[in-house]
Symmetry: C2
Subunit: 603 residues, 2 copies
């Protein structure tokens, strides 16, 4: 059975040594009281909760799955899920980053991302229940009416109620413009919603008193397509004026999906049969309001794969230390044993370091994005908020797609380290792989993320957001480019920066009059830009580690092996993983013709 140790040391490194989160956030009035000790104490407690309470549920959740009672439409989650959730609520965790105005603790989102990384390592299926609630909270916090906020935000922040996103319908997933669920206005200002939704994660369960569904639907006069979609809040139980549970609403789970993984999370078909809802935001502007939740959810999905990468890595390393097969290339390292531990073998190390580099790079990117999110929400200066929001907009599809593709690669490599045992359920490694697969699909497939990045975020604003990132990278190169000890990192970073600039220009030119170009190269492009961001963050991490090593040496302190490991991982990344960009750029150069030339009938 897998085990899990919260990676607190690496979180401290990223939060404090790399990003200086406390120094960066204290100037914001919302975080004026923030200090390192609080951050670390929260991390430690969160890690303990994830490892001790949630992680033991992961395998049982996979084995049992959820069950639907077709008579009363109730869903039972796996044994222990509800009790763990009650502990989660009792511990105040749902309120961590919620607004103090609604009972929240007002801590940074960056810290909340650390909490969720650990929950995702412990059990992705379990972590989705609170994860979606958090998104519903953010959406209503941004777009709800004062009444809606007063009714829904306190129980969501408290965690006694949970939330969902009801977007997909049987005939429309990516293309929400096709959705058919309709909302009829009522005399009392409410709406009656009728339709069918599928793939609703945590749509029904036994963890919370009430479930707050955020539902996309069409008003009677709605224009066709995505410009005719409105957003509604549809509670499972209609709250009374006092906020108690009133009548049971006509939104019900009619079936559970049988899935490749995340068995512990209830993926529901929901039928709305004249369910009562209230409008969130403007009529026909529902998609824009929902995007608050979707953007948060996209970061969350990237975080899921980060969590899986970390836990798969930890268990693969443990196995590679234990399992003895063959001898090290240069001769026996443990001659007293019948064979050496497989950690001596170069390709086993390559598989492990792949997962390690993707975990460490992913964590740095995740928290870098989280810091931008906190600045975008709470900085007193509007320009600073906008700049942070722009950078977050650029990074969100990268976090979602690059981290989930990496998580798929990494968990597969960690399965491979186990050989045949990796394929056997009891070892728990294949569950990580099965769970990781959904992350490339939901909350917008990774293809959609790549179109969002290249089409909207890069070409859509004439490259400004990308240039802003480029300026940061250039500033780093200008400051540290003369350092001999950083050349292993700065040289490939500078080269890739030039290549991304050239590639972006080329795509911008070629896509004029060749509308298929963007779609043809977007996936390659996102992966190249993902590597650019990783190369930048690994270079920065290397600089911090080298400086820390020098400081320790100057002070006569013992060398902290953490920094040596960080530098090895960074060197592995630039020599073994970053080169993938060479092939991706060549593939992108070939553009759309190789994909579009073949007549549809010939497939």
């Amino acid at each position: 059975m897998p085990t899990y140790t919260p990676p607190l040391r690496d979180m401290h490194f990223v939060l404090h040594e790399l990003l200086g989160v406390v120094e960066r956030l204290r100037p914001l009035p919302a975080h004026a009281e923030l200090d390192v000790d609080t951050v670390n104490a929260v991390l430690e407690e969160a890690g303990r909760f994830a490892a001790d309470v949630v992680q033991p549920l992961n395998a049982v959740g996979d084995a049992q799955g959820c069950t639907l009672n077709r008579a009363d439409h109730s869903v039972t989650t796996p044994a222990g899920f509800a009790a763990a959730y009650a502990q989660y609520v009792a511990g105040g965790w749902p309120a961590l980053a919620a607004d103090p105005a609604h009972g929240g603790q007002g801590l940074p989102h960056t810290l909340n991302l650390c909490l969720y990384e650990m929950l995702n390592s412990a059990s992705q299926a379990w972590a989705m229940y609170p994860g979606l609630s958090h998104g519903a909270y953010e959406c209503l916090h941004a777009h709800g009416t004062p009444d809606q906020q007063a009714t829904y935000l306190p129980p969501l922040a408290q965690g006694t109620w949970t939330g969902t996103m009801c977007l997909t319908e049987p005939h429309c997933g990516t293309d929400l413009g096709l959705l058919r669920t309709r909302a009829e206005p009522q005399a009392d200002g409410t709406y009656r919603l009728t339709g069918e939704k599928i793939f609703i994660s945590a749509g029904e369960h036994d963890l919370a008193d009430n479930i707050v569904h955020l539902v996309l639907a069409r008003l009677p006069d709605a224009p066709a397509g995505t410009k005719g979609i409105s957003l509604f809040v549809v509670p499972k139980w209609c709250p009374t004026a006092e906020g108690k549970l009133g009548v049971r609403n006509a939104i019900r789970c009619t079936a559970l999906e049988h899935k490749m993984g995340i068995h512990g999370n209830a993926t529901c078909q929901m039928v709305l049969d004249g369910a009562v809802g209230t409008l969130v935001g403007e009529p026909h502007r529902g998609l824009a309001a929902m995007f608050v939740m979707m953007n948060g959810a996209r970061l969350f999905v990237g975080n899921q794969s980060l969590g899986l990468t970390e836990v798969a890595y930890q268990n693969a390393v443990a196995y590679a230390r234990e399992r003895q097969q063959m001898r090290a290339p240069g001769g026996a390292q443990c001659p007293q044993q019948p064979a050496d531990p497989i950690l001596v073998h170069p390709d086993v190390r390559k598989m492990l370091l792949t997962a390690r580099a993707y975990a460490e790079g992913g964590r740095a990117l995740m928290l870098y994005a989280g810091l931008r999110q906190d600045v975008s929400l709470s900085h007193p200066d509007a320009e600073e908020r906008q700049a942070a929001l722009d950078e977050l907009a650029l990074l969100t599809p990268i976090v979602k797609a690059f981290l989930t593709d990496n998580g798929w690669l990494a968990t597969s490599q960690c399965v491979q380290v186990f050989g045949g045992h990796g394929y056997i359920r009891e070892w728990g490694m294949e569950q990580f792989l099965r769970d990781a697969r959904i992350n490339m699909i939901y909350e917008g497939t990774n293809t959609i993320q790549s179109l969002d990045l290249l089409g909207r975020k890069v070409l859509g604003d004439g490259g400004r957001k990308l240039q802003s990132l480029g300026r940061q990278i250039s500033a780093f190169i200008d400051t540290h480019g003369v350092r001999e000890d950083l050349q292993d990192f700065i040289t490939p970073l500078a080269q890739l920066t030039r290549q991304v600039t050239q590639l972006t220009t080329e795509i911008g030119l070629k896509s004029v009059g060749q509308p298929a170009w963007v779609g043809a190269v977007a996936v390659d492009y996102l992966r190249v830009v993902g590597h650019l961001v990783f190369a930048y963050l690994f270079a920065r991490m290397a600089q911090v580690a080298l400086d820390a090593q020098r400081t320790q040496a100057e002070r006569g302190q013992p060398a902290d092996p953490f920094y040596a490991a960080k530098l090895h991982t960074a060197r592995f990344y630039v020599t073994k993983l970053l080169p993938e960009t060479a092939g991706l750029i060549r593939s992108a150069h070939s553009g759309a013709a190789p994909l579009m030339a073949m007549d549809a009938a010939l497939f």
Copy 2:
């Protein structure tokens, strides 16, 4: 639910137009009667059996799995498996490539590989039962005593008995030198075997009258390590002198593994408790004898992923024609529908073409290797046999590792085409992915394959086998290099050939005195050489297709769209998949240091 159409047209193309199998094999006395009509009739009938009888069992096999009766150690396979196997035996399929001396039909192995590709597309889990029998047949055919051959080969060829390979033990998989099962010689010339084996595919089941286990074990005087392993045949039921079933032997299934996929195949823990066996081949030389079976099994495993790639592709294309989401990049292609079929989208095409190119390239490589196998077994000229055997030795690890890695990538892309539905069991796509995962692990992990290729097959003979392949490629380039219409294929092929030569030389030099180099770069190297072979085969297929198009045009015949599709797929391959080599070569250049520098304690 997935469907399956046997790819007969592409098989005809590869067998007849690309490889000229009949012309190549008729000079061999064993195949003097072979003709195109026979080959095609067998293919058609085999395809019908796979599609009509086996394919409908695939989903049920996954859902039901196998069950062990702990009281009598019997295993029940999923509903329908045994009946389908009885039909398989009644149809004479097990005997297809078996020696007529033992009741076989004596048809080429190349044709048998086509049969198995289709069975693997239909149900990998089911196809493993006859697949392993075929390997046991080959092993005993090559190394059995006359008595063993007389006893075991006819029922194996007939299929009334099946076979297994019993290698792995709990503490040893890759490192067979550690194995502990022991064999005590008896006064009557037999041996009593005692030990525990795990991961025994088809180790126990209800398909056949008897099961012929090929078991690796140690004699009492055996030297330590792999040079002290002997091979034994251990039947489930000891045959009487008349070949009937005698007493039940002391080899029993004690547990079934719960696996990520291939649920329909029984993966058994087997206990030998003084089981009676007879020696196959020389004492202490069991590994060499077993390698006959393992080499066949490695081709078979590559073939499994080829089959999965083909069936996943077919179903993803069908979905991409049906599912309507969004509009084509250049504007609506089906304006009368609410949205266009997703086949219009560039990245959907890229995912589909990835699977298609890996299927077509994989089939060409598989049958190219199959032809070498037939020549190596039956050519009257010893030099020709040796040359074919050498080339087959070079290709076997590539078939196993490159095709199974490609199958993993391809089935994952085909899942992605389905979006959320790809993750749902009912659609059957995620089963292909789960089944495909084992193929990278068993019969020697893909890391082991890469070490076999680089360490043994390339560096081990001073590059002679690789040079022989290089001469074939050069001859092709010399013959066709001036053709304008082949430049898209010949230019990258010539470039990659030079790069492989340089890379091989570099590795040969660097690995002297740096023993970790081979293990550090072998996986990258295998993938590069795999692409070289694919680039060569796609160039040859393009040449054949272009020539066929010209011939049709000259004769005023209508253009066969098959050739246009082949050329599109080949162009896609060289522009979108082959470029991966650029990154792999860069990664390999960086050698061992990035993997070996980190102290084991720092992982």
